[in-house]
């Protein structure tokens, strides 16, 4: 597989061009609306938070963007290429090199029967890496970056704690240096101290690697820390969007005001 060693090097990108352009994205489940008429641009290095209550269409939107579901209407362009017209081969190749998807439950994103090193190395092998020593070296390097000790490289994820599994999933996704990362509630189900460490780690990685991130969550603290821009969804529609601090400190829409005021204060 002489695949796409070129694809890695083609990361030169004019920063004033949006990386992802979404226009009028609509997904219906029969007569019900999954998400309707969502439009936004995402620029390189930008973190977009999507918040909203359960059933507001956040996850539907994310899965449409990541290509797991096909939207009924609308347009998605990644790097100037029309995602909906793209062949499945190209789309799947893109999703294992240039994109990453971090699941809420690490068990969905990891191979539980395969060692940590194998999990991290899978994407490398999928794009044609065939040197065991180099694959392993890179896996150990990435485990280090997500604060997993190098001597755990041959342990299976089932022997890891929840927080470690989530960090392993992140390492596995970032090993091919993607440019766009989708995250679905990455801190869900973790206790607060572990959450804080994970957020710290994510913030560092996003800054160091210049990642563009779309992060779906219902935890406003997470978006406050990570996201540059924020989109608030309700009943499948975007009710408010803007800079994170602006939206959270001066919410305009009634639902956003409710959302912000519902956060429990310690």
């Amino acid at each position: 597989m002489s695949l796409h060693s070129t694809e890695f090097s083609q990361k030169v990108h004019a920063p004033d061009q949006p990386l992802l352009q979404v226009e009028g994205l609509t997904k219906r489940y029969g007569p019900r609306i999954g998400c309707a008429d969502v439009s936004f641009d995402l620029y390189p290095g930008e973190v977009l938070g999507i918040v909203g209550e359960s059933g507001s269409g956040k996850s539907t939107l994310l899965s449409c963007l990541a290509g797991h579901q096909r939207p009924d209407l609308g347009r998605i362009a990644y790097d100037g290429r029309d995602m909906l017209a793209m062949s499945e081969t190209d789309r799947r190749r893109l999703s294992r090199t240039d994109w990453a998807y971090v699941h809420q439950n690490p068990r969905d994103g990891l191979r539980m029967g395969v060692s940590a090193g194998g999990n991290v190395g899978e994407r490398l092998m999928a794009v044609g890496a065939r040197h065991y020593g180099q694959i392993r070296g890179k896996a150990v390097d990435w485990l280090g970056r997500v604060e997993i000790a190098a001597d755990r490289v041959d342990d299976r994820p089932s022997a890891f704690s929840g927080g470690m599994q989530q960090r392993l999933q992140i390492a596995r996704n970032l090993v091919t240096s993607p440019r766009l990362v989708f995250m679905d509630e990455p801190t869900g189900g973790l206790d607060v101290s572990v959450q804080a460490r994970l957020l710290d780690l994510l913030r560092g990685l996003v800054r160091d690697l210049g990642l563009s991130v779309i992060i779906v969550t219902h935890d406003l603290a997470v978006v406050r820390l990570l996201a540059h821009r924020l989109m608030v969804m309700k009943s499948g529609r975007v009710v408010e969007q803007g800079l994170t601090d602006q939206v959270l400190d001066d919410p305009q829409h009634a639902y956003t005001q409710l959302l912000v005021s519902s956060v429990l204060q310690v």
């Binding site: 499945e88 395969v114 194998g118 092998m125 999928a126 065939r130 065991y132 020593g133 694959i135 041959d154």
Partner: protein, 290 residues
């Protein structure tokens, strides 16, 4: 169709257990398999008068290939005289009545004969699980997609796990091969010692999986490459001994326990090959002149 013609023609009709319609279906699958080497062709597997796991796929492929002029050989783990080989051979003797030496069709379970195959022979493998990705990806829809899009990175994850756990590629049988740079194929549970013989073989190699309802094939002279890593290349393996009966230095060996005082001997797993060598005057450490 009142006149079925002369005797040979009448005998050839519904020859070797299967009816003509079934054979037609299987032959179509075989032809498709040969046209697309390494691709698993689905076929309507029939119930055979033996349990799944005893070679129902191989038997159907063999029955579809056999014509009265053929000579059939059946081997099981290399041996001509073990239960499975004997019962399948008897089955075809009763249903087809072909002679079983100097074979034109060879049905095999888990070995490729030591004697090099020649042009015009057909080697039929019994395959338990045709999908090389099965234990890595349980969804059939997904594995078919992976074959379609040539996404074989996962196969290397398995080899990676071997090296990480055992220090070397510990997969010793059913070792995956890539066929003509396209499909990754499970060569049935033959020892990886036999893997090099798959490639550039002058015989037609057919693979039948009865329970899984798949047929795939390697036409003559097909190139196959055993998957490996650059720094952990593919190596064949065998017991580091000579055959104790015929003295053959480079045949695949079975270890036989001979007593309860850790006595053991290593003998060729291909009994026909071993017998032939002994008849030719080769004698091993424990052998007697035949």
């Amino acid at each position: 169709m009142s006149d079925l013609g002369s005797r040979p023609c009448a005998d050839a009709y519904n020859f070797a257990y299967l009816d003509e319609q079934t054979k037609r279906r299987i032959r179509r699958a075989i032809l498709k398999g040969i046209a697309v080497p390494g691709y698993q062709v689905p076929f309507a597997s029939r119930e055979m008068p033996m349990p799944y796991g005893w070679g129902t796929g191989g038997v159907q492929v063999t029955a579809a290939c056999l014509v009265p002029e053929d000579r059939l050989k059946v081997i099981d783990q290399g041996a001509d005289d073990t239960t499975n080989a004997v019962s399948i051979r008897r089955f075809f003797q009763r249903t087809a009545g072909v002679a079983t030496t100097e074979a034109t069709v060879i049905q095999t379970r888990h070995r490729i004969p030591e004697t090099p195959l020649t042009d015009g022979q057909i080697l039929v493998y019994q395959v338990p699980i045709p999908e090389p990705l099965r234990f890595l990806e349980p969804r059939e829809t997904e594995t078919r997609k992976m074959h379609e899009l040539e996404e074989y990175g996962l196969m290397h994850v398995k080899l990676y796990e071997d090296i990480a756990r055992h220090g070397q590629i510990a997969t010793s049988y059913a070792y995956p091969v890539k066929v003509e740079g396209r499909y990754v194929m499970d060569p049935s549970p033959i020892p990886k010692f036999d893997n090099p013989k798959l490639s550039g073989n002058p015989a037609i190699q057919l693979f039948g999986a009865g329970r899984e309802q798949r047929i795939y094939a390697l036409p003559p002279w097909t190139e196959t490459v055993s998957l490996d890593f650059d720094d952990h290349p593919f190596r064949t393996s065998k017991a580091p001994h000579d055959c104790d009966l015929c003295g053959a230095p480079n045949s695949y060996l079975d270890e036989v326990i001979t007593d309860d005082a850790s006595g053991r001997m290593f003998v060729c797993s291909d009994t026909d090959f071993c017998t032939g060598r002994r008849a030719g005057g080769h004698i091993g450490r424990l052998g007697e002149a035949a």
